[in-house]
């Protein structure tokens, strides 16, 4: 079962963090189709956020077609977000980990790495438009 | 709420029971000893006919011991009011636990009523038990000295201690509710109780009913029967007015000796002046409450204290409901 982490200090509102974590778990294969998401009560006991936050996140996921609520039973995974299979994600994740090790060895700190990533993403986006 | 009261007071209850047991044991031992001593003395004097000259004091206990026991026993009615009553409301207000108690599904009145009820009962039972013991204990003494109506015996025997205890408890609870802090409530309870007790036993009690006044010839002194309560006594002159010592007083019971009787004052027999005084119209008087009124007075005094207690409790209920917690 997935365990949510809500960071009060990150820019994203709590419900969005939960949505993102579910989507990422689906991409990575941590959650498979048919798995049950934590009940609102369980999620809230772990994260100490308002129950409506979790409800809102689950509703958003339901609207996207990723999960479905079965009355009286809970919320279950219905589909994966579009994209390559979990295997690809894991492979790319491993590749990224290697690159991060190399960057760290070269002397880059987290801020520099994040900055580099953002700039690269931006440049790639501009390339796509052009 | 009864269960709750017992749960909260179990330590106090145990402690009080222990202390009372100690006092009871002391009273028992000294009482038994005094009774034994009296019965022996009675047996002895009956044999040789000297009963009229039995000493005027308790045969086996020193005056200090008696005084100490009387004080301890007199304090008993006050103590529950002081140690349980004063903190009952004040303690909760000080620690804030009333915010817990008064947000359970119970009205403040119900909370107060049950606790007060049990504490009053406990105080009454305690005072009653000690009073029964003290009544038994002062038996021999009263037989000798006819002291039962006097303040230091009347106050610790029969039913008035129960009235005192109920009043002290009500005063403690009321003081705690009004003052909202335990120490000031303790002080007020102590002072209030002491003041009322002194006022009652030294003055009020003497006048519950119109006292009886008897005038007697100086040559035939009169002492009221049994355990009476003396209000005042002395000498009246021919005009019926009480005489007090003056500049020419030779101190016969504090009354001045008239000129015509001065010649008797040099006599080695102090009683020699008496017939002369009598001839001048001097009489003795004693104003007192007869022994037959003993139980009526016990009832009246208990009634006064209980009525006052009821008034104080009424105030407490009103205050508790109206005031902010």
């Amino acid at each position: 079962m997935i365990r949510f982490r809500v960071d009060g200090r990150s820019g994203a509102p709590p419900y969005q963090q939960i949505v993102q974590q579910v989507r990422q778990a689906l991409r990575m294969g941590v959650l498979a189709i048919g798995d049950q998401l934590p009940s609102v009560r369980e999620a809230v006991a772990v994260t100490a956020v308002n129950p409506n936050t979790v409800l809102k996140a689950y509703r958003d996921l339901e609207r996207e077609g990723l999960v479905e609520a079965r009355a009286g039973l809970g919320t279950f995974v219905r589909a994966r977000p579009p994209g390559p299979p979990p295997g690809t994600h894991s492979r790319l994740g491993r590749g990224l980990a290697a690159w991060v090790r190399e960057a760290r060895a070269a002397g880059l700190d987290d801020e520099a790495i994040e900055s580099l990533l953002r700039v690269t993403l931006q440049a790639a986006a501009e390339e796509d438009i052009a | 709420m009864t269960w709750v009261t017992w749960r909260q007071y179990r330590y106090q209850g145990a402690l009080t029971a222990a202390l009372t047991a100690v006092l009871a044991v002391v009273l028992l031992i000294t009482g038994l000893h005094a009774a034994w001593a009296w019965h022996s003395a009675l047996a002895a004097c009956t044999k040789d006919g000297s009963c009229a000259s039995l000493p005027d004091s308790n045969l086996s206990l020193s005056n200090t011991t008696i005084a100490a026991l009387v004080v301890a026993t007199s304090a008993v009615p006050l103590l529950p009011g002081l140690f349980w009553g004063a903190p009952m409301v004040a303690g909760e207000l000080e620690t804030g636990t009333n915010q817990f108690a008064w947000t359970q599904s119970i009205t403040r009145r119900h909370w107060l009523a049950v606790r007060t009820g049990w504490l009053l009962l406990a105080a009454a039972v305690l005072a009653g038990a000690v009073s029964a013991l003290a009544t038994w204990w002062s038996g021999p003494d009263n037989a000798l000295t006819a002291d039962a109506f006097k303040a230091n015996r009347f106050d610790i025997t029969h039913i008035v201690p129960v009235g005192y205890a109920i009043f002290a408890m009500a005063l403690g609870i009321c003081a705690g509710a009004l003052l909202r802090r335990t120490l000031p409530a303790l002080a007020v309870t102590l002072a209030g109780f002491a003041a009322l007790r002194v006022l009652t036993s030294q003055w009020l009690r003497l006048h519950f009913m119109t006292p009886v006044t008897v005038y007697y010839k100086l040559t035939a002194p009169f002492t009221p029967n049994g355990s009476y309560l003396a209000v005042s006594q002395g000498i009246v002159g021919a005009n019926g007015k009480p005489l007090t010592a003056g500049p020419n007083s030779y101190g016969y019971n504090g009354a001045p000796i008239p000129a015509g009787c001065m010649r008797f004052t040099g006599s080695p027999n102090p009683g020699a002046v008496v017939p002369c005084l009598s001839a001048h119209g001097y009489r003795g008087y004693v104003t007192y409450q007869p022994a037959s009124r003993f139980w009526a007075f016990q009832g009246i005094e208990t009634g006064i204290f209980v009525v006052l207690a009821a008034v104080l409790l009424g105030v407490t209920f009103w205050v508790l409901k109206r005031r902010d917690a």
Partner: protein, 310 residues
């Protein structure tokens, strides 16, 4: 605005609630509304009137003016009303010499609906001993005991006065998690006060701001966040903005003007950079209003910020 799960029946509704002592006005003209099922943050500086408001709702004190309707009637000293509310005072007043088990017994004897098993379960899960005098427990443990006892009453409204004040960060987290879990059922409305919004904003979906014994803000956090924005731009005249929107707070440096505004439509002037405000900024903005004397007064903020049900 309504959403599934966001009910709008008011559990608490007050009008002009005032509490006056001989020399001090603890609460002045307080008009708020708390819909059912909310976890409401009652924030404000010390002395703002938060404790007074909670005590009035818990019928531990009586108002000197104004009305309050809680769960369909005025707060009253009767067992039926008291059974529906739970109150936890700031000093966590438990009987220090009695054990948690004793307190469970007290609750069982004094309440019609009592779930003692839930207390034993909850404290067992937190490894808090049931048979030690509660005075010997740590602050965090006592707070959990008190919360468990208050929840065991199965109230419909929970009023908590600065419950986090004496707790360390871990204890705070556990307490908030326990609260959120209790509210997950949907039948419970919670009002908890704090003088720090940051502590409780993750668990709250409704906000009441008291400052200087008056209500400055009252409404769902979602609405408040949607209605307010932070505008930054080069230092300039703000009259144009002030004509359409309500300026809550204005800060100027030599070069820059920063505004916290309550929106009344879109911001058209491109000179202003518009960002979302976070809850703390909004709270601080309204709290500092009396000092700055700028922008919308409390009255405007209150009228349009109360729920959405007017």
């Amino acid at each position: 605005m309504t959403e599934e799960g966001h009910r709008m029946t008011a559990v608490i509704e007050t009008s002009g609630l005032t509490k006056q002592y001989r020399r001090v006005t603890a609460l002045s003209d307080c008009t708020i509304s708390v819909p059912e099922g909310r976890i409401s943050a009652l924030v404000g500086p010390n002395g703002a009137g938060k404790t007074t408001l909670l005590r009035l709702l818990a019928v531990l004190a009586a108002p000197t003016a104004g009305r309050a309707t809680v769960l369909g009637g005025p707060p009253r000293q009767d067992p039926a009303y008291l059974a529906e509310i739970g109150f936890l005072a700031q000093e966590i007043p438990l009987y220090r010499r009695l054990t948690a088990r004793d307190h469970i017994g007290i609750g069982a004897h004094l309440n019609p609906r009592w779930d003692g098993e839930s207390v034993r379960e909850r404290l067992g899960g937190l490894k808090i001993p049931l048979d030690r005098p509660v005075g010997t427990l740590s602050g965090g443990q006592r707070a959990q005991v008190a919360l468990a006892l208050t929840l065991a009453k199965r109230p419909r409204l929970l009023l908590l006065d600065e419950p986090l004040a004496a707790l360390d960060p871990l204890a705070r987290r556990n307490f908030l998690a326990a609260l959120a879990e209790a509210a997950a059922g949907g039948d419970l409305t919670i009002v908890l006060s704090s003088h720090l919004i940051a502590d409780i904003e993750r668990v709250c979906d409704h906000l009441i701001l008291l400052a200087a014994s008056r209500v400055q803000l009252c409404g769902d956090t979602e609405t408040l966040l949607a209605e307010h924005r932070v505008l930054t731009g080069p230092r300039k005249d703000t009259t144009a903005i002030a004509r359409t929107h309500a300026i809550v707070r204005e800060d100027t440096t030599a070069r820059q003007t920063t505004l916290l505004v309550k929106l009344n439509g879109p911001v058209i002037d491109p000179a202003w950079a518009v960002e979302e405000a976070n809850l703390e900024e909004i709270v601080l903005g309204y709290m500092s209003q009396d000092d700055a004397g700028h922008g919308a007064g409390p009255a405007d903020a209150r009228l349009s910020a109360i729920g959405g049900d007017r």
